[in-house]
Assembly symmetry: C2
Homo-oligomer: 404 residues x 2
């Protein structure tokens, strides 16, 4: 009899957000009268910007004519998109990244899940705690962890780096050696950012220890403060130790449109093995390119009009973030994040457990958030709210929370 | 120092089609005057059908308005698409497949590459020889094979099932036990189909031996003969032993638009492990859904106008196939396929090696095909031509070949 991949059985329950979606659906069915406000999953609500819509209409028309029809895309992505990304996202910030180090994909989640395939099965993985579940789940499925323990909320064989109030939500260098270090800044779920000097220290650490940093910069467009790096390649030496993941989901509202990219510098090597060449081989064999129409949509994000429109959307979300954060603090709650990211990381009141607070908030206020414990044991006692709703709903949610 | 996945080093050279693309680009640069006819990679040339274009314009407009904007898609795909697929592709053929057994993806290549993740790392893999490279390459990367031997063109630890003139290009049951059996019908690259009774025998074999069949039906829309199954679920017992992969690339010209799906029946279990549940977990953790716009495009393929337009496109490609096949046979070549598939599998003349014939045909006639040896050792001495060009180019290519 064939055998399944037994590592799947190590995963506790379903994917975090899928589990929450089911809970919310069950609640809504039982309480059809409740107007639920969704500040849980980080899903955007503003429509795609006009410049993007226009670019897609044009691309759709091209696909309808023989002269301009496009079949298989270049596997690494169209040059028109890789070129503008290299220029606008990196070279304009002084990062020496070229178009052939950029790999277009259908989103950062896929890349975050797939990137581990490049590394040895016995690699030791370090993650922040709390953490976006994909980094860990994909390594569990690949067999890089031991068993999960419900009591601790941890997998054996994983290096956890707690990010707590005590350390300002910045991970400390682990005592154990790690081969792969996943970092996400501005952070999901804590919403806190990293200063350039602190990120430089991580780059130096990784180079010194022969580790690779998988740097998830999905929220970089939300940075508002000076001194907070938008890319890890702003740090000296990052090209020999870091892969960066980027997303259009939060930058331009592409959660349902699907576009992202990975940066794998040519200097990132292990002996004679180039990670850039390996990823090219991986994508060439297991991926078939991102839709032409979507790549044109991505290009429009960088046009003068597109960039302006997208910036206005982000400003609106960040106004929500400020409103929620300040409102919570005014009401006596403790809350972090929301300055360089669209996430607010609030402390649950009266030491409530985070899943308990999830149920309480859903039942009493009709608000969906994400329990901190879902992101890891150090997330216990916290709760993530997103700024991706409408301003009206953000205000309404705040009002309902204050009245609890 | 971190270590890479050493299995990548087992792969000989680059992904087949990427390698050919580079060779052709180099030739074109050296011979800018040659008008190259591309019958190599299976890429379509007809524009998307009007009904599909219309559906995409409408979906793009929806994405531009707050009331109709769509964020993250349901991870398994929108119900509107899964429902119509279940009904039109399966239930209408008497296959008892329901919408919750269908997983929408961005194409069959990704699914074909990723599906192996569900199985134990020590699973024994059986593939046809010749074969579409993705099945094998993805298992090599996952460590399910031994080393590659240039002399034999084979990996250690893989069960090869030769498909040759002698057995009518139908694989025979392997002598060795295999856990995963990859079958593709109508076949890429040979272009030959399987009769229902023969496929039933494979289903019975798999159920008897506790094997799983990964059935790639990417070319089912090209079937013209009665008695050739469109789905493996037309066979009794297939739901307990088979996963089916489907593609919109060839059915509706989506090579640059990206849409496909996998069917994983709920009856497909190993002890208490449900492959349907495992794939749901895998996709939930490592995939983030197919763009809404593209799923609407897929839905339009099944509308009365869409279905009619798509059928006309397929008929045009199949007229090319017939033209090429009959023309080659008339000219004294031996050629297979082209009746239930868009591929013609010709024997190289005078016992030429297939890569030798590739160079010869490119240099002397400016025609790009795919050398049979690129698909496996039993492909040696064969050459794949596709019917996806225009009719004019198909005729022109035939004419150039006849004049050689």
């Amino acid at each position: 009899m064939f055998k399944v991949n037994e590592n799947f059985a190590k995963l506790p329950g379903s994917y975090l957000f899928a589990g929450i979606a089911k809970k919310v659906a069950a609640f809504q069915e039982a309480h059809p009268e409740t107007e639920i406000i969704r500040l849980g999953i980080g899903d955007v609500t503003q429509p795609l910007a006009p410049a993007i819509i226009e670019a897609m209409h044009q691309a759709v028309d091209e696909m309808g004519k023989a002269e301009t029809f496009r079949g298989y895309a270049p596997e690494q992505g169209y040059e028109f998109l890789r070129d503008v990304i290299a220029r606008e996202d990196f070279q304009s910030r002084g990062c020496d990244i070229s178009a052939d180090e950029i790999f277009i994909s259908d989103g950062a989640k896929c890349d975050a899940g797939n990137i581990q395939e490049l590394f040895s099965p016995d690699s030791v993985v370090a993650v922040c705690d709390p953490v976006y579940p994909v980094y860990l789940d994909s390594n569990v499925m690949a067999g890089r962890t031991g068993l999960y323990h419900e009591e601790t909320g941890k997998f054996d064989g994983v290096v956890y780096m707690p990010c707590t109030e005590a350390n300002g939500f910045l991970p400390e260098f682990p005592k154990e050696r790690a081969d792969l270090i996943y970092l996400c800044f501005p952070n999901n779920p804590t919403g806190e950012a990293i200063k350039k000097a602190d990120l430089q220290a991580w780059v130096d650490y990784a180079n010194r220890n022969g580790s690779v940093i998988i740097y998830d910069a999905a929220y970089e467009a939300y940075i508002t403060e000076e001194g907070v790096p938008h890319s890890i390649y702003e740090c000296r030496g990052a090209k020999t130790c870091a892969i960066e993941l980027r997303s259009f989901s939060k930058k331009a509202g592409f959660t349902g449109t699907r576009l992202g990219f990975s940066v794998i510098p040519k200097e990132l090597v292990c002996g004679s093995a180039s990670l850039n060449a390996m990823w090219s081989r991986r994508q060439g064999s297991k991926y078939n390119g991102t839709p032409y129409i979507i790549q044109r949509a991505g290009e429009a994000v960088y046009s003068p009009e597109g960039a302006k429109q997208v910036k206005e959307q982000i400003d609106r979300y960040m106004f929500n973030a400020k409103t929620i954060r300040d409102g919570l603090i005014d009401a006596g709650f403790t809350a972090y994040g929301g300055v360089n990211s669209p996430y607010i990381w609030m402390k649950t009141p009266n030491g409530m457990k985070s899943w308990e607070f999830f149920d309480y908030l859903l039942e009493k206020a009709g608000i969906v958030g994400t329990p901190g414990a879902g992101f890891g044991p150090s997330g216990e006692g916290y709760f993530r709210l997103t700024a991706f709703g409408t301003y009206e709903n953000s205000l309404k949610a705040l009002d309902r929370i204050k009245k609890l």
